[in-house]
Symmetry: none
Subunit: 216 residues, 4 copies
């Protein structure tokens, strides 16, 4: 899988928004929003700042998004949703449960590499909007956690993974671990390649930890 295929920034706008200048204006606003949000946080980000960063008038924002909250929701839907969909779509290609878990780890961390602003928005800023967390993020997170949990329970069924742990617990812990790593990376030095290295080590620990007991 080529890194570029994961690029969120380059993702195509919906066809109906491509006509005229309108199509890329929506994109320009979302791009600007990621930049400003990463720097200022949700509550300190002013609509007028996003407008200025996007090179449009304040009012123009409201031609594309119903409200400031809606802008963040759209950001979430346009960016994160596609990421999550991508992860799920990619999983079947992997064979064993171990391969799938390793893939999940690689993808979740790999996606953020090179998109530091986006990483910060997803791991930190997103949580600053209580509404978004409770109304939008939670269901998506749950769906994502469910798909991880399914990989685990499938692996348990085939005897590939230990059967004495709750698949959902594993999913939450894995997601939390990945999120924690991404967060410290986003807030910290964010060195090139840091996430890739982390990805490998975490996979080894997780897979060892989930190996069947008799594999000892």
């Amino acid at each position: 899988m080529s890194e570029s295929s994961l690029s969120v920034r380059r993702a195509r706008a919906r066809p109906e928004e491509r006509r005229g200048r309108g199509g890329d204006k929506r994109e320009r606003i979302l791009d600007a929003a990621v930049r400003v949000l990463a720097k200022k946080g949700f509550h300190s980000t002013r609509v007028s700042e996003v407008a200025k960063a996007a090179g449009v008038a304040d009012g123009t924002i409201y031609l594309y998004f119903k409200s400031k909250d809606e802008l963040l929701v759209s950001l979430f839907e346009d960016r994160v949703e596609r990421l999550l969909a991508f992860l799920e779509a990619d999983l079947p290609r992997a064979g064993s449960a171990s391969d799938k878990l390793r893939r999940i780890i690689e993808l979740q961390l790999g996606l953020l590499e090179g998109e530091r602003d986006l990483a910060e928005v997803l791991t930190v800023i997103l949580r600053q909007s209580t509404k978004l967390m409770k109304k939008y993020a939670a269901p998506k997170f749950n769906a994502y956690l469910d798909s991880i949990a399914r990989v685990v329970s499938d692996g348990q069924a085939t005897g590939e993974l230990r059967g004495d742990v709750s698949p959902h617990l594993v999913a939450r812990a894995m997601f939390g671990a990945l999120d924690g790593i991404a967060m410290t990376w986003a807030l910290g030095k964010a060195d090139r390649g840091g996430l890739s290295r982390a990805s490998g080590q975490l996979a080894q620990i997780v897979l060892r930890g989930l190996a069947p007991l008799d594999a000892r």
Copy 2:
């Protein structure tokens, strides 16, 4: 571990602030703040709501705290700091590195059991105050992560833990996993005993995952 010994809510107020009627007023305000913050989030919480919940006048808040921000900072210092101090103080009692890691997991999750509001404040609300995150929380988190990392590297030195993983990575991942579990618990159903069960399973996975390679 006795639950009561960990109770934050019952922690004694500083003696010098007990004089007159003022002493428990500070406590009442902090208690009210935890309740309101957990329900509304930082930015949606009105100072007047906290005052009402505490049964004091708006202005009284400002006799005990310099500002709304300062109130959250004080909450953090009065509650969280003591929690973290408690964790670090408890560690030396455990013998092996494995015991210590297990203890960390039990404590971090155990502390929140029965203090759902506090758990939500710590895992969710805290991150809504950019100022708090950057000026106060970050250093504390780092100190805490460092103490976990030290346990790991000590264990690696004695050969008790596998040596091919970065202690800091392990610390971040562990903290993230614990935080993720606590967050879904705080935002979700939060069933009695859920965290205790989770605690045991997570410990098993982590310790298996960190066992020396030749232990296979």
Copy 3:
């Protein structure tokens, strides 16, 4: 001297601020501010009252002025500064020192005739803003006093005025006398023509008082 040429209220707004509806809005706010300030005083004047009197929304005030203090400063700069500049510009036209002093008296009182609210703002309200008094007004007053003092010392040099009094003392006393007359007029009955009459009499007293000793 034609009255209209001195009218402050009719002074043209800066061309670049005339575009759209904004141009006269700034003027409307300043006009409203003079009216409300004269009636209420600086500290009892609410920004919302000025807004209402100007027929604009509260927030609109802040599109034109940075703060309530800044509004008073702008009032000062837009009105008083121009007045003082006018006085100084007019002086050279007069020939002798006596003519100049008479002119100063006529102008300072004549300017306020018909602008009672403005007179009150200048003689009373202005002094209610400590900041304005110390940071803005004081230097302007000093400059004005200096220009009066210069007229006196020039007159002394040519032997036209008595040489045994301090030019600066004369300036302060003259300004004080004019200010006192204007203040009692503004706070009192403020009868039509009162200031003009006062102007003539004061000039006679001052000029007699400053005549060279040997003129006796």
Copy 4:
């Protein structure tokens, strides 16, 4: 006239307030008020600051004065009223109208020499309280102005002063001149002896200016 006889600060408290500690507490509060008002101005002066400067509790202020406004009114009545009464009482001693006017000038400026804080309160701070200006000060000022005007009109009746100027105008101008001199002195360098010198020069100018026309 000895300077000390004019000292406002040393003026005896009313007999009924002399008992116990109460009597000097009222004085201490008024003294503190003068000091704080001179430094901060009326609206920036906090009741608690006056209390602290007086060495009493906030609530104690209200045992002696009904309100903050009332405190300033009392200050005015205790200090200024007595000053004005003193001036009026002193006038009859002087013989001619010229002597009386000279006396007024000497007294009004002399009183403030050495009492800079009080001078600032009287010339600047007093005007910051619109209520005080309109409800209390105005009548007193008028009474004072009237007594000056009477001196002038008496002098005109005896032919000692020129008869072609309005006595009230002269009073206003004289008061304004004195006030202007005091104000620049209070706000400026306030050099020792400055007011005495000013006093002499101003008297010469005023008396020359008011001399009968045929005296030329």
